[in-house]
Every structure is written in structure tokens, then in C-alpha cells.
């Protein structure tokens, strides 16, 4: 399991360019910051009010006034800035975040995303997710390909949408997929899997890129 998350986080990290402003969701996406290629420095935005967030605070050295959006004590890097929530979401909605990386319950071939509610079961609220996926220049979904055998990449989402037509890329332990006008295209495959296995783990039609490559991580 840890290995799968590491594969995904490492691959996503390669999507980021030096100087990118990035918002990382809670959980797996947070790991992406640990695998940035050499020479790539990104600026982490935390929607509760930080530009230039650093790593988690060392135990015993927490500043209780500095948390991230997951309510963890964090640090800041030189050149950081604090702001209020209206400014924060102005940055997000205004297209000033180059990439947001987050998990999903379901993604479909239109690039629709469902990741905030399971009606009657889990109603945590959307937090900042709806704004982030609508506003960020690039939306990368980082998740396991299936959930306990259940498909997550679908013809049409069955759960309520977080937003419609927003996902640009999906990175799973099986490969890398891009959302194109024609549907979901597999562009890279983890050599541990066959194309057929990826197809089986994907409910919707999967276009295989003519230039399909091995997934780098």
C-alpha cells in the first residue's frame, strides 16, 4: 500500500515545474512535495491562508498559529505570506494556482469529478475543493485506480459532482491518463501491469495513446 502511494506521488511530482504554485490536498497528495525533481522548487499554497508553506512542524516545535488546511502544524519558507480566506480563494479562482493535486471518489470520461460527498453516508462538506478544481490551471487526480475492486474511473460519475469538466490528468499506480475531448487516454503504463489489466480496472472506454510509454517514477 505504501509502495502504491509512493509510486503515485513520485509520478505526480514530475508534472511540476520550477516556480509552480501548487495546492496539495490532504493525504496522498501531500506526499508529492517529498519527491520533487532536483532543481524544481514549487510554492505551496494552503487555502486557509499561506503562500509559501514549508514542511510539517517538528514535534515540540509547533507554532499553534500556523496550520495547514488539514489542521496540521506546519512551517513556512522564506518569502512566504499569510492572507485571509477571501484573498486565498481569489488566488485560487483567479487562476493563479498552477496545479492542484487531490484525490477522488470518482472521475468520469468527461473530466467530471466527485470527491466530496456520499449521500446518506459521508457528508463532510466540500471545503475548498470545488473552488480549487474550478480555479487551478491544471487539476491532477492522484488516487488508487480502484477502491477495493470497485471502479473509480467511470463513464459517468454516480456520486454528486464536485465540479464538471475540470480534470486534466489522473495518476494511479497503474498509469497516467489524460482527459481528452474524445475520452480518457492512457499515456503511460506501469510496466507491472498489462494494458488489459488497466482496461479491466477502468469502467469507461480507455483510449490507448499511440505513443504509450512506461510510467516514470
Amino acid at each position: 500500500m505504501a509502495d502504491i502511494k509512493e509510486i503515485i506521488a513520485k509520478r505526480v511530482a514530475k508534472e511540476l515545474k520550477d516556480g509552480d504554485v501548487v495546492n496539495l490536498g490532504i493525504g496522498l497528495p501531500t506526499m508529492v512535495a517529498n519527491y520533487l525533481p532536483e532543481g524544481v522548487h514549487i510554492v505551496l499554497q494552503s487555502e486557509n491562508g499561506i503562500m509559501g508553506m514549508g514542511p510539517a512542524a517538528e514535534p515540540g516545535k509547533e507554532d499553534v498559529d500556523i496550520i495547514n488546511a488539514g489542521a496540521q502544524y506546519v512551517t513556512i519558507n522564506p518569502g512566504s505570506m499569510y492572507f485571509d480566506s477571501a484573498v486565498s480563494f481569489g488566488i485560487i479562482r483567479g487562476g493563479h494556482v498552477d496545479a492542484t493535486i487531490l484525490g477522488a471518489l470518482e472521475v468520469d470520461q468527461m473530466g467530471n469529478l466527485a470527491n466530496w460527498i456520499v449521500p446518506g453516508k459521508m457528508v463532510p462538506g466540500m471545503g475548498g475543493a470545488m473552488d480549487l478544481v474550478v480555479g487551478a490551471k491544471k487539476v491532477i487526480i492522484a488516487m488508487q485506480h480502484t477502491q477495493k475492486g470497485r471502479h473509480k474511473i467511470l463513464d459517468t460519475c454516480t456520486l454528486p459532482y464536485t465540479a464538471i469538466k475540470v480534470v486534466d490528468m489522473i495518476v494511479t499506480e497503474m498509469g497516467v491518463m489524460e482527459i481528452t475531448p474524445e475520452g480518457i487516454m492512457l499515456t503511460e503504463i506501469n510496466p507491472e501491469y498489462t494494458v488489459e489489466q488497466v482496461r479491466e480496472a477502468t469502467q469507461c472506454k480507455l483510449i490507448i495513446s499511440p505513443g504509450l510509454k512506461d510510467m516514470e517514477f
Partner: protein, 226 residues
């Protein structure tokens, strides 16, 4: 100059059953606990609370929830306080909580609109989702937007790091979050602050919230662990 400094109990004395209150804070970081505690002691009921989230049990608005004081909660995220789901699903009518979920950016902007005299704003957030239900959709430049309306409240609970006697306030680090917008969007504003200084001690370039918004100042707020 009018003396705005009060004890927490004096400051919340004006709040009655059924009031709406905006409470600053993000997961209780930047929530004035000293005011929340006074409101628990006063034990007013049927409150409408507007806050980014439900805090956690024993912190922030979580205390009001545990004490059964909240009737309606308007928030963007309630997942880290399991009491919300319990109260939403309870069969005991008088304990029942109504929870209205608003995307975080839209919540911040609606409060800003409420404080700045705008009649609403167009946001792309929520288009095509259940958030859009019942809302007007306007197309501008070929893109659909939801018309979102301003949000105001009777009271605001603001958490300052440094506040001068006029009420000018600064916020340290991520305690800022919703506090500045809320300070402008409520009829009566109470600041619970860590440090009270003389008027004029804060560099006018660095004041975030103007004292003109502030009705009462309560000192003695602390820096809390979540």
C-alpha cells in the same frame, strides 16, 4: 474616545436566543475561545452559526454544538467533528441541527459581499453541481457563473492577535482566515484578542481590521493547541 474594553461575559450579554453569529477560525485556529466560552455560560439557544467549519469537539464552535446551542450551521466543512452528523440525524427534534454547506471560497466571498455592500457576485464554483440548485446562472463571456448572494449576521466573534483600544486589529499567521471579512459583515462585532495595546501602537500600514467595525474588545485570549 468610547471605551470598548469589556469582560467576555459583558460583551456577549447583548446576544439573545435565535441570534446569528459569524465566528472566525479555521479548524478553531483563529477562533476566539474566550468569547465562545462566555456564550456557553450564557447558554442562549437556537443560534445560527456561520463559520468555516464545525471546529472539533471541545474546541471552537464545537463547544456550542456539544452544548446544544446551534440550530443552523452554515459552513464549508464539518467532517472533522463527528457530532455534526449525529445531530443532523438525531430523532430528538429540539437537538436537530440544520447544516448548510457552502464552498469555502464562496463562503468567504459571500461574507465579503455582505460587508462591502455588494448585491452578489458571479462565481464559476459550483456550476453543474448540487450547489447550483435554486440559483440563477448567468453567462458572461461564454462561461456560466452562479449568482451568489451576500451573507450578514447579527454578531461577529473575531479573534485578534494584537488589538488597540480603538479596535484596530492584526492577526498572526493563519489565524487570519475568515476574521477580516466577518468583522465587516455583522451588525455588532466583538473581538477576543491576545494583546491589547494603546491606540496608535500598531503601524497603520499593518492594521488588517479597522477599529470602526469593532463594538467590544475582550482581552485575555490565548494561543490554543487544536
Amino acid at each position: 474616545m468610547i471605551d470598548k474594553i469589556k469582560t467576555a461575559d459583558e460583551a456577549v450579554a447583548v446576544i439573545q436566543d435565535g441570534a446569528s453569529i459569524m465566528v472566525g477560525g479555521f479548524m478553531a485556529c483563529g477562533t476566539p475561545e474566550i468569547l465562545i466560552d462566555a456564550l456557553v455560560r450564557k447558554n442562549v439557544k437556537n443560534l445560527t452559526i456561520i463559520c468555516n467549519d464545525a471546529g472539533v469537539p471541545g474546541r471552537g464552535v464545537g463547544k456550542l454544538l456539544t452544548n446544544g446551542q446551534i440550530k443552523i450551521l452554515i459552513a464549508s466543512h464539518v467532517g472533522l467533528n463527528p457530532e455534526v452528523a449525529q445531530r443532523m440525524n438525531t430523532d430528538v427534534e429540539e437537538d436537530k441541527l440544520e447544516c448548510i454547506l457552502v464552498p469555502q471560497g464562496t463562503l468567504a466571498e459571500r461574507i465579503r459581499a455582505g460587508g462591502t455592500g455588494l448585491g452578489g457576485f458571479l462565481t464559476p464554483t459550483g456550476v453543474g453541481t448540487i450547489v447550483a440548485e435554486g440559483k440563477q446562472v448567468l453567462n458572461v463571456g461564454g462561461r456560466d457563473y452562479l449568482l451568489e448572494l451576500p451573507l450578514r449576521a447579527d454578531f461577529a466573534f473575531i479573534r485578534g492577535s494584537v488589538t488597540d483600544k480603538f479596535g484596530n486589529t492584526t492577526y498572526n499567521a493563519t489565524t487570519r482566515n475568515f476574521n477580516p471579512m466577518m468583522a465587516a459583515a455583522a451588525d455588532h462585532v466583538i473581538v477576543g484578542t491576545c494583546n491589547i495595546v494603546e491606540t496608535g501602537e500598531i503601524d497603520p500600514n499593518n492594521v488588517v481590521t479597522s477599529g470602526i467595525y469593532v463594538d467590544s474588545i475582550v482581552g485575555g485570549e490565548k494561543q490554543w493547541q487544536i
